[in-house]
Symmetry: C2
Subunit: 527 residues, 2 copies
């Protein structure tokens, strides 16, 4: 059966030959070779990704510490036009000395992965990856300054990710004098390209300021030009709560793992305490439905009846996950965000109720703007956000784009050809807020195609679409009335003259009949 090819030039390997080549791959080797997965596939994007990872981290840290964020972003050209030092400093809580090397010098290390709580970062990859890219292209380590309070020493570190074993290598480590009482500064030197306009650092910072009105950002570009985005709101958004997974959409493997690892001794208490929205009553109902004793030990259940239990979980009616684990942008701010982009004639926005994918809650918000100064003769523009972070790249591979295409805009009065976004003066905005946003790659620029998420986005956009249809209908009616009035004004005198001829009116009668006719026609039914 295993017939060798005739060509002798082809020397095949045996299973033993192949076994010699099998090796383990370290995660940092993997990401070095696949640095495009992290958002470093071209020099312009590399610069943006670096700024983004640092700024997102700073915002998360400030908000968790209850501090109104103030961020300084400074991009400095370093000798050559394709080499920059990115400085990002915040007024956040600072980082403990012993944590600094791992946070900046080790991939897959962080505080946000092992919990369900909405934040910008989630994977523990971003900032170390930016440092790794900087080191790869310039040979320079990442520099960190951090201080946890005016009474504390300020720390200074230079760190590299060791690609061989994904452990931090500390190049320098000392206490320094620092003029700032509290906060963190990270400096990454990298090869990159600085450009303004579409997909630029400028665009990212502006859109970030829009979706985060409580944030102040001071930004200095390589040419020295300074832009200040001042906060317009002095209060932090409500802090999203950490939650337990919701039973709907949880997978068998995850359930088995949870049963194994729970500290609950009884199945009933496990259900009630390790999930959200499972009351005592619901937990008893689930046990009964599954035909498992409510006091059974969870570890025992894992081995035998997990599948029955999963079915019971899915079939029991439970409330949707609570809203307080999610902090949406809000309908008003969404409209304001679109207004900043373009002055339009019509706006509509919606924040939907929470839904669930794979046991994880999420909220979709959407907005649609039409007319005004929005460009006419082109595809609709789509602004995408995830947990208040603007998504600039990879729009084509994002569920938001597909949903915006699938929403079927013809039914709302727009032109749309198959498989494309509608055309016309339309601006759309979609935001997903969730304790765990499923991105299509580690660079976190596009959201994956979960059917539940796609459906919610379509529904949100269609809600805006219905308002748009009413607006367009009204506008069309007004335009028609205007046209009708103009017709009437144009032709009535002729009709008057004709009637005068036929019926033998005098001029007074003619004038009166014209006035009457005009009134009747103007106020008549539309059709």
């Amino acid at each position: 059966m295993a017939k060798k090819t005739s060509s002798d030039a082809r020397k095949g390997l045996t299973a033993a030959d192949m076994a010699l080549q099998q090796r383990e791959i370290s995660i940092s080797e993997f990401f070095t070779k696949n640095r495009h997965l992290l958002g470093f596939d071209n020099p312009k994007r590399a610069l943006l990704t670096t700024v983004k990872e640092a700024v997102d981290n700073s915002l998360d840290a400030c908000e968790e510490a209850g501090i109104l964020p103030q961020i300084w972003v400074d991009i400095e050209e370093r000798g050559r036009e394709d080499r920059f030092a990115v400085h990002v400093r915040d007024n956040g809580p600072g980082i403990l000395r012993e944590q600094i090397p791992r946070i900046f010098g080790k991939l897959l290390y962080g505080s946000k992965f092992h919990r369900l709580k909405m934040s910008r970062g989630q994977q523990g990859i971003g900032i170390s990856a930016a440092g790794m890219y900087g080191h790869l292209t310039t040979g320079k380590p990442v520099t960190i300054r951090s201080r946890t309070g005016p009474e504390q020493d300020a720390q200074y570190f230079q760190v590299i990710v060791n690609t061989k074993d994904n452990e931090p290598r500390i190049v320098r480590d000392r206490t320094i004098e620092w003029e700032f009482g509290q906060g963190t500064e990270v400096v990454i030197e990298l090869e990159g390209t600085f450009q303004r306009g579409k997909w630029s650092v400028d665009e990212y910072l502006e859109q970030t300021a829009t979706a985060n009105p409580h944030v102040t950002i001071h930004y200095t570009a390589p040419d020295g030009k300074r832009t200040d985005f001042e906060r317009v709101c002095d209060e932090l958004p409500p802090e999203p709560k950490e939650i337990k997974p919701h039973p709907y959409g949880i997978e068998l493997g995850i359930l088995i793992k949870m049963l194994h690892e729970t500290s609950s001794r009884k199945l009933q208490t496990f259900l009630q305490s390790d999930f959200c929205r499972v009351s005592r009553r619901a937990s008893l109902e689930i046990c009964e439905r599954a035909g498992i004793y409510e006091n059974a030990r969870p570890k025992r259940v894992a081995q035998k009846e997990a599948e029955t239990l999963l079915k019971a979980l899915r079939e029991t009616k439970l409330m949707n996950p609570p809203m307080d684990c999610i902090c949406p942008i809000g309908e008003e701010l969404i409209e304001a965000g679109m207004r900043k982009e373009h002055e339009a004639a019509f706006y509509s926005s919606v924040t939907r109720s929470p839904a669930v994918y794979r046991g994880i809650p999420f909220v979709i918000e959407a907005g649609v703007a039409y007319g005004g100064e929005i460009k006419e003769d082109t595809s609709a523009k789509l602004m995408r956000y995830a947990n208040r972070v603007p998504l600039l790249y990879s729009g084509g591979g994002c569920v938001m784009t597909r949903a915006a295409i699938e929403a079927n805009w013809r039914q709302y009065g727009l032109d749309q050809s198959n498989g494309n976004l509608p055309t016309g003066p339309v601006l759309m905005l979609v935001h997903i807020a969730s304790p765990w946003v499923p991105f299509t790659s580690e660079s976190k620029e596009a959201v994956a195609f979960y059917p539940e998420i796609e459906k919610e986005i379509i529904l949100a956009l269609q809600d805006c679409g219905r308002h748009l249809r009413r607006y367009l209908k009204r506008r069309r009616r007004k335009a028609e009335e205007k046209r009708k009035r103009e017709y009437i004004e144009k032709y009535i005198p002729h009709i008057g003259e004709a009637l005068q001829d036929i019926l033998g009116f005098d001029d007074g009668e003619r004038t009166r009949i014209i006035t009457d006719l005009t009134e009747v026609l103007k106020n008549g039914h539309d059709g």
Copy 2:
């Protein structure tokens, strides 16, 4: 500076609080939570990805062993319509007993990552990830049967990826009787959806057979329907050679790492033996240009002058990487592949010379088909391949799609609106062949936006476009001639009669003048 928010409800965390939450994340935990990165974001795609990972592995193994591949794919419904067992068996070289658990039960383990050689698999993630997803959704381990030859025992394993530490957990392990003399069979049970049509297992297998005419696949669908894709060519494609990186586009960090790890004692020999296309003469030129002594120890260089050396490497004229590390599909087969999809009126295809991104060579091939049975009133269809593997998902996020949009088809006579693919009866095919294809995610369905790659794709498509323009021009001219002939045939008799009236011809003269006029006009210049 670190001003606390006024709202008392908001209790901020300190740096010490946050440090308590910092934890390491295992790669398997990471991919479980991010299973969409691996191609498991919806049930239909999950089934396809599982089949694909297993088939790609089988094809790679057979080809490396010099065996003409024969693959059996059997998808079996398991009790419920959303649960399947995927069986994939090959006639390959088999796998050594001690390697089986790690190959199927550990992420980031494999033979293809640490080398530059063209193959379908590259990352050591795919098949373990499919098994992990199967276990996650059904609780079942992966089953493997393998035998390295008729004289050897056949091995039977059941394996699970332990998510906590990314190590294989062996559920069962024994020697079995097996009816097959050599090969490997993997069985994965998973939740999924079976559908035919677009983005289906059927489409993937068909396109695989098209691009791999030396492969036989026997495929049994869940409804029992069997399809056989028989090989049409009895010879394996030439084996792609493993190569060294090319100096162009290599990064500083990689150069430093290579200098550190080389076994060469002298800089000159390092340059000559650790890169491709660096002759002795070129290596001496590089040393001189960098101003570094040719007998310097590479490790010393790493610390000091790597940057100068990199600059010299980039500035020295070197040959493009050799073609024999890449095994393209070939212009003929590309045309055949498109012909299988649709019978068209025009075909053009091209295989370009190798180019380099980041020191890694790649070849772009493209084809364009037009007219015939291809649908008229829709966007062009784009078929994408990477290393002979059809890419079905994530087209929107793929550099091939963007390049196909950027190619500017209006100049070749097609309709195209801004930012969209051209419309009309057009089918395009793009193939990238490379020892390392940069995919946008671990699911390997889209190629990342490296500028060098985008440029090559555009050039390849434009080459086909120029042929298309000539064809369309010819066709248009023919159509015009036909129209003209019809006009002439229609109007000449009237002209004849008019002339007869005016000039007083008899009927014979009229007939003659009509014949003459018709001839003259038909053969006249087009204008």
